[in-house]
Symmetry: C2
Subunit: 205 residues, 2 copies
DNA sequence: GAGATCCTTAGACCACCGGTCGAACCGATG
DNA sequence: CATCGGTTCGACCGGTGGTCTAAGGATCTC
């Protein structure tokens, strides 16, 4: 988390720093991003940046949080489908995936930022950010999983951790297919359909 | 590839360099590994190392190649199952996965090296190594895929690239489950069984 | 044996990295 | 006007991967 001071900075200055950071982190990834370039682009000095943030990871984590919140807001609410049947459960999942893909497609910068983030599990220097993300994402995922299981849409004969791992891996495949495939919305939604269908086969009862 | 000179170095000196590199790369990963530490540990100088290798990536790539070949040799031959029925196809796959997991379990250093390698798709400074790996792995994977399809063990209504992506993702789940799970061989082979069963559900016709 | 010609080695040096730190600046307050 | 705390700055630190030159050392020719 940035120091509270940061939020009492003028909106323009906050924007300058965050957009420079977004540009740098999304084009180079966390590891290869240069704080010095961010500082230069933002018209700030190193001392200032360290006055408002704990360091590189802190800046990255804050940027990530803000951007993900924007994306979630953009993709619309995700109603955890309670007491539904398997088909509607899976169609809700698929539908939300399509909306997320569209939101990502609308902002390639955010897409690259997230891609780098996703592919950096366990990387040194990102421990805090990953703990944070886990702490906010896991309860939500567990909720969805439980809903799927009461809807008899997800099997219960396999450890939850394994189901989550498979789900995360398949999410990566969606990203990969979007990254390497067509940008036509229709083609993308059928790709998502195909992949979610594979996920469903894998983890339905 | 290292310069040909490297191979005419005394075996002891080659060993010193490669084992220092293995130690460093497997404990810190490619990005955070330090060439200086490798040099010091190997009792060599920077000039020498650059005399035999193109740089960090070249050393890493060579080490990876050697280690993977050792592992493949250790896990035994993988007969691509031609003209079989679905059940035997999948049992051959599962069997080979179990053997690979055992080989990995036998050498934690190699396991960590491979884990770091797998999680660094698209990372800057590894482009050549990744191209190399792709060039050697893809034809083999395509062969297995085709064998599975003629055995009616793998569906044909989905692009091959997607099937490969799902397969790779599920392989990552195997690694994850081995990493976070029990070290008991029996538990591991049942975990592999469960995960391969999920893969089978996802990509069988 | 002397000299010349390589291959090999050592480590100083380069630009850059993330992070630290003390000095300077500046508006408000006494 | 002096002081004081919040803010800004950039020189500096130890480290990185990579470059380069000069010296060593073996081998060959005369």
């Amino acid at each position: 988390m940035p120091r509270p001071r940061f939020h009492s900075l003028s909106a323009a200055r906050q924007e300058a720093i965050l957009s420079a950071a977004l540009e740098e982190f999304s084009t180079h990834g966390f590891v290869d991003a240069s704080l010095n370039r961010i500082i230069t682009a933002a018209g700030a000095s190193k001392g200032s940046l360290y006055y408002y943030f704990d360091g590189k990871e802190d800046l990255y984590g804050h940027l990530l949080r803000v951007q993900v919140e924007l994306m979630i807001a953009d993709a619309g609410p995700f109603p955890v489908p309670a007491n539904s049947d398997p088909d509607t459960f899976w169609s809700v999942i698929e539908n939300h995936c399509v909306r997320l893909v569209q939101a990502l497609e609308a902002s390639p910068q955010l897409a690259r930022l997230l891609r780098d983030w996703m592919s950096s599990t366990g990387r040194k220097g990102l421990e805090r950010t990953q703990q944070d993300a886990e702490r906010t994402a896991l309860p939500w995922l567990a909720q969805v999983l439980a809903a799927g299981q009461t809807a008899r849409a997800i099997r219960t004969d396999v450890p939850d951790a394994l189901l989550l791992a498979v789900g995360t891996a398949i999410a990566g495949v969606i990203d990969y297919s979007i990254l390497t495939g067509s940008t036509d919305p229709l083609a993308q939604s059928t790709a998502v359909h195909t992949i979610i269908e594979m996920l469903r086969r894998a983890i339905q009862p």
